[in-house]
């Protein structure tokens, strides 16, 4: 007759096995961690072709024949850095664009210091973005360029297009908050209570580390515990460790946000929700979304906990353009750029969308407008 086996017995055996495996894993991990690791990020070559104050303009030359005549400017958020779009070879939005034959420009906002505390949204939109757009227009001898905004950079791009519609051919917004009157994301709940004025008085600029702490607190169980348990479980896997470190490098590379810009963004957008109501004033001018009549592609993540779909999807209904499209991807805020699935989907979709609108000369566009060829569509993929 077999001996009765109880859970405690099995648990002890399992513990023994696990501890042996853990020992082996950590022995192997020594080799991995002490050996050479390739954890560089943003390795795609570029030229800094323009600079104004701390703001640099990076230019990436396409690797194949140009498929789109109009250059594309990517405006990243002031929170974290644009290096996320070029995390590693094979997982790089930048490289995907270059492989598709796009002339790619990207704004590097740099690291604001105390002297930047008085820079407002007006300075970022009407000075920095505008100067950069003018530079690209002049360099390529084009009246208009394509503009793509990411998160807060998307909000800036929307404001810019509304204020300078004559300089933009097509607008792409990705995970861009424009409607802040929602309680779906914790950020939207918490920021309602923040005294931004006092925060800026105390800190000058909004410290990146405090912002990062806030992001970690959105889901401490996953971001502060489970993530590192996962790391320990794979600590002997060189590729995993390299990718993990790359992500850590990016996540905790957090420049401070200029104080006045932070204050205005919190008060005018998160607390008063002025942008979507066409009531926001930037540089003395009212931002009227109805003035955005260029084609608009609006992409966001269904599981985005920072900028939930509710914060993004209203934009296409509020702009004056008849050619708009919403795409909701089954992913989160960062996954949209770094997940393998989205890597395959995001850039080809954008390039195809741009290509369809690239050769349309102004007079044909008129016909298109009158015929209303492109109607508002809502797709989910």
């Amino acid at each position: 007759m077999s001996e009765p086996r109880i859970a405690i017995d099995l648990i002890m055996e399992k513990l023994a096995e696990e501890s042996e495996r853990t020992q082996e894993r950590f022995l192997k991990a020594q080799d991995v961690l002490l050996g050479e690791l390739d954890t560089e990020i943003a390795t795609t070559p570029y030229d800094v072709v323009y600079q104004i104050d701390r703001v640099k303009l990076k230019y990436y030359k396409p690797k194949t024949r140009r498929k789109i005549k109009t250059p594309l400017l990517v405006v990243y958020a002031l929170i974290n850095r644009e290096t996320m779009l070029d995390l590693q070879p094979g997982r790089s939005v930048v490289q995907n664009f270059l492989n598709e034959g796009v002339d790619l420009y990207m704004i590097d906002w740099g690291y604001p210091t105390r002297k930047d505390r008085f820079l407002s949204i007006d300075d970022h939109v009407n000075v920095y973005i505008d100067s950069v757009v003018d530079f690209i227009r002049e360099k390529h001898k084009k009246d208009k360029i394509n503009l793509m905004g990411i998160c807060m950079g998307g909000t800036f791009s929307v404001i810019y297009t509304a204020l300078h519609p004559e300089k933009i051919k097509n607008l792409i917004t990705t995970v861009t908050p424009t409607n802040f009157d929602t309680d779906k994301g914790l950020l939207h709940i918490w920021t309602k209570q923040i005294d931004a004025q006092k925060l800026v008085k105390a800190y000058g600029n909004m410290p990146g580390d405090i912002l990062n702490l806030g992001f970690l607190l959105l889901n401490p169980a996953r971001l502060m515990i489970d993530k590192y348990v996962g790391f320990l479980e794979n600590i002997d896997n060189k590729t995993f460790v390299e990718n993990f470190i790359r992500m850590e490098k990016w996540i905790f590379d957090s420049p401070d946000v200029p104080g006045e810009t932070f204050r205005q963004f919190i008060e005018d957008c998160y607390q008063k929700n002025l942008l979507i109501q066409n009531k926001m004033v930037v540089g003395g001018k009212k931002v009227d979304l109805r003035k955005i009549k260029v084609p608009l592609l609006n992409i966001y993540g269904r599981f985005d906990h920072l900028v939930p779909p509710e914060a993004c999807e209203l934009l296409t209904k509020k702009v004056g353009s008849k050619d708009t499209e919403d795409i909701c991807l089954d992913t989160g805020h960062i996954g949209i750029y770094v997940s393998s699935k989205c890597q395959r989907e995001l850039v080809p979709k954008i390039v195809q969308w741009l290509k369809e609108r690239d050769d349309v000369p102004p007079k044909v566009k008129k016909v298109k407008k009158t015929k209303k060829v492109a109607s508002k569509t809502k797709k989910s993929s």
Binding site: E3, P4, R5, I6, A7, I8, D9, L10, I11, M12, E13, K14, L15, A16, E18, S19, E20, Q23, R114, K115, R117, F118, L119, V127, L186, I189, W190, K192, Q193, I194, D195, K198, L199, K201, A202, Y203, G204, L217, L218, N219, P220, A221, R222, I225, D226, V229
Partner: protein
């Protein structure tokens, strides 16, 4: 003595040991209600003996495990497996018991000073009383001293120093409250997982996979955090903390700037004035450049 005699003897010793241990903790559990009467005034009114639920669930889980362990042949079965285990497992077991008893000691100490309800995913009753009590004492006793009118040539400096002491105290108290609030989901999720494990052990479905238990815990913890973070109570605590941090930082810098006045170095206030001026000048230059073009 033959090896089978030795096995039987060690089996008996462990059975007795477990049995006496179980009896001790069971009687302790039964003794609790009387014991708590002593501390009645410190316990929350609406949930006077809520912490006992955790105790009871722990005892139920223990009961299931003890009865399984004390059954005939169990120890020989367990130890036949154990004999092949490396030394590290024994060390781990020892550490585990140490941790177990440490947790119990912590829990007992805490339960004597009153505790909160153990209802999963509910945070409407944050244990604010402790922090409120401290704040009240501070406001009534200490703050009054700091707020006493200052006189003389250095009165303004003294005022700023007293303000710093005040803001620092408030910041410390608020930080403690915030950290305690963040700890609540950890405590609650452990209790929930404990209860689940007890039920699984009772039905013989506990299994041997620690990863499953970890996953159960992390999922529960995540859920508890989500519930907490969406609650107005948490938002209030967060706002209080942010206000306190900002007030403290502003007060600290005011004092530092007083000190720096004696040194030949510019303060943040001086530098900010210059930065603001440069910012305004740059704007004007840009505007003029546009007009010239």
């Amino acid at each position: 003595m033959s090896s089978s005699d030795q096995d039987r003897k060690s089996n008996d010793v462990f059975t007795e040991w477990f049995k006496s241990g179980f009896d001790f903790w069971t009687s302790m559990g039964k003794a609790w209600p009387d014991f708590t009467k002593i501390f009645e005034s410190t316990l929350p009114e609406e949930h006077p003996f809520e912490f006992l639920k955790s105790w009871q669930s722990m005892m139920k889980m223990s009961e299931g495990m003890m009865s399984a362990l004390s059954s005939s042949g169990t120890f020989s079965s367990a130890f036949s497996g154990l004999s092949s285990l490396p030394e590290i497992v024994l060390k781990m077991a020892q550490k585990g018991w140490d941790g177990y008893f440490y947790l119990y000691r912590q829990w007992l100490e805490k339960s004597m000073s009153g505790t909160r309800p153990v209802q999963a995913y509910v945070f409407e009753k944050l244990d604010e009383n402790t922090f409120k009590a401290w704040t009240e004492i501070y406001e009534k006793e200490f703050k009054q001293i700091l707020k006493m009118p200052k006189i003389g040539l250095a009165r303004e400096y003294q005022e700023r120093l007293a303000d710093l002491a005040d803001k620092f105290s408030v910041f410390q108290a608020t930080l403690a409250e915030f950290l305690y609030t963040l700890y609540l989901p950890v405590e609650k999720s452990i209790q929930v997982v404990q209860q689940n494990m007890g039920e699984l052990a009772k039905s013989g479905e506990l299994g041997d996979d620690f990863k499953k238990i970890y996953k159960m815990w992390i999922k529960t913890l995540e859920g508890h955090y989500m519930t907490l973070f969406k609650s107005p109570e948490y938002t209030k605590v967060l706002k209080r903390l942010l206000d306190a941090v900002e007030d403290y930082k502003i007060a600290r810098e005011e004092v530092l700037m007083d000190m720096l006045q004696a040194l030949p170095v510019p303060t943040n206030r001086d530098i900010d004035d210059v930065y603001k001026e440069i910012h305004e000048l740059k704007k004007q230059v840009r505007e003029l450049s546009r007009k010239v073009k």
